[in-house]
């Protein structure tokens, strides 16, 4: 047990056990799956037609929108003069079904039907169509355990979209809320603020929607604000999720671990040996993509390497991450307008 905990020696055993347990898990979930299948096959023509109509409308809507985004992205890239901005950050994605079994009633974990034969690795981003769902944890050959962002052991590096303020979102233990426990009482945050991933932590690229702030309590005597948010992803009702592989050379890619240090973006343009005084356009672009100013400052100073918050798994970075660069002290001076 200690071996598993400390040295991860039993990874192979875990893998084998997960492989062995998957048939049982499938068997247990099969009655529910069968019921869904029966329901689906007896769906009326009307409801199917309605759904079809709805989906078609949505598709048209999205196509229109994506056309606009294409144009914007092109314009943006042209303006910045950075061709690397054109390839999307997501390289490959794979839908995965959630296997309907109970893994642990008090922890927020689910099992999906994709594993290492689908080249899923531990610590991979799991999204649904509205936001971030979680990341893979134990990966077996045909199945993988996903730790949800609402699990109390999961910490997600995020930033507030409106202000760019970075912090950590920790699961609150139920499937409908997240806590932001490391925000100072004078932080500029309001109900309704959108929380997005900040790109730190090495799992999610920046800018993916996570949650909307629903509750902010600031008390003068408390050094930290009490903030709650509701995730965008339909964590409690999803039956299908998306596994995403990210293009490592995209400027917006999540941080990558390299010799124990985390590196972001295109390696060919990244490590700046000589500190440049005026920030070159490519650097500025990369910094803009990373969407944070402190990084830009660091890059201009020639230090692109950011200390790793912990090992590769961002799932266990709850506390260590709160102090290093994630919550930038440089941001603190932002005081709310009194």
């Amino acid at each position: 047990m200690i071996l598993d905990q400390r040295f991860n020696w039993l990874g192979r055993a875990h893998y084998a056990l997960q492989a062995a347990s998957y048939p049982v898990e499938l068997a247990v979930s099969s009655p529910v799956a069968a019921w869904h299948w029966v329901q689906k096959s007896f769906a009326t023509r009307d409801s199917l037609e309605a759904e079809n109509q709805r989906l078609r409308t949505r598709l048209r809507d999205l196509e229109l929108r994506s056309m606009r985004y294409d144009a914007l992205a092109r314009q943006n890239a042209a303006l910045i003069g950075l061709r690397n901005a054109l390839p999307p950050v997501a390289q490959r994605w794979l839908p995965a079904d959630i296997v309907n079994i109970q893994l642990d009633s008090l922890r927020q974990r689910v099992l999906i039907d994709r594993g290492s034969v689908n080249s899923v690795v531990a610590g991979q981003a799991v999204l649904d169509d509205d936001g971030v769902v979680g990341q893979t944890m134990h990966v077996g050959p045909w199945s993988a355990q996903v730790i949800l962002i609402t699990d109390p052991e999961h910490a997600l590096p995020v930033s507030i979209q409106r202000t760019g303020l970075r912090t950590i979102a920790v699961g609150a233990g139920d499937s409908t809320s997240l806590a932001l426990p490391y925000l100072p009482a004078n932080a500029d945050i309001r109900v309704g603020d959108v929380i997005v991933t900040s790109g730190l932590g090495g799992v999610f690229p920046p800018g993916y929607p996570v949650a909307r702030v629903t509750e902010v309590h600031k008390e003068a005597v408390q050094p930290l604000a009490h903030v709650r948010a509701v995730p965008f992803a339909h964590i409690d009702t999803d039956s299908e999720v998306m596994l995403i592989w990210f293009r490592q050379d995209s400027p917006a890619a999540p941080l990558e671990e390299h010799d124990g240090e985390l590196i972001t973006g295109d390696r060919s343009i990244q490590p700046l040996t000589v500190p440049a005084k005026p920030v070159p356009p490519s650097e500025a672009a990369a910094a803009a993509k990373a969407a944070d100013k402190t990084d830009a400052a660091r890059k201009a100073a020639g230090t692109t390497h950011i200390k790793p918050p912990s090992q590769a798994s961002a799932a266990k970075v709850s506390k260590p991450l709160s102090k290093p660069p994630a919550t930038t002290p440089a941001r603190k001076p932002e005081r709310p307008p009194t």
Binding site: M1, D4, Q5, L10, A13, H14, L17, Q18, A20, S21, V24, E25, A27, V28, S29, V32, N100, I101, Q102, L103, D104, S105, L106, R107, R109, P152, E153, G173, K316
Partner: protein, 158 residues
């Protein structure tokens, strides 16, 4: 019923308990779901201490670890402890009326949960929700029923 060895019955009930453990339930039922596998191990340790004993507990725990639990071996250790206590005291427990047995089972389940709690804490996966203690109550409440059902699965040929 199934020969002289209770092993077959043991296997069947363990698989049944595992399925009951993994079955998706509405959330309020999930909270009160007793540890079926722990009850099964307890029953077999008391009823047939020689056939299964600590090994049964350990194997069942490992099975449980394959599905849940943050650390591999957590449930294996806890269930082996549970089986050990039950095997040691099986004469005394067996002679008690069923309701007193329930009380003993309650104590044993609390011990089991404390072991899990301690391992969770040591391994840095703390889960301090008070709800985690609810299954010990429901486990003790369901014990008479569970024991009766498990008793039907195997009758020693006297």
């Amino acid at each position: 019923m199934s020969g002289s060895s209770p092993r077959v019955a043991m296997l069947k009930t363990v698989v049944g308990a595992l399925i009951l453990t993994l079955l998706p339930l509405p959330s309020w039922l999930e909270i009160v779901r007793p540890g079926f596998l722990a009850l099964t191990v307890l029953y077999w340790s008391i009823a047939a201490p020689r056939a299964g004993g600590i090994t049964l507990g350990w194997v069942c725990g490992l099975l449980l670890d394959a599905f849940e639990g943050p650390v591999l071996g957590e449930h294996a250790l806890a269930l082996a402890f549970l089986a050990y206590i039950a095997v040691r005291e099986h004469q005394r427990i067996r002679s008690k009326p069923i309701f007193q047995q329930s009380l003993i089972v309650f104590a044993a389940l609390i011990f089991y949960e404390v072991v899990l709690f301690a391992i969770d804490g040591w391994s840095g996966h703390p889960l301090t929700a008070p709800l985690r203690w609810v299954p010990t109550f429901t486990g003790a409440l369901i014990w008479p029923v569970a024991a009766a059902i498990l008793a039907r699965s195997y009758r020693p040929s006297t």
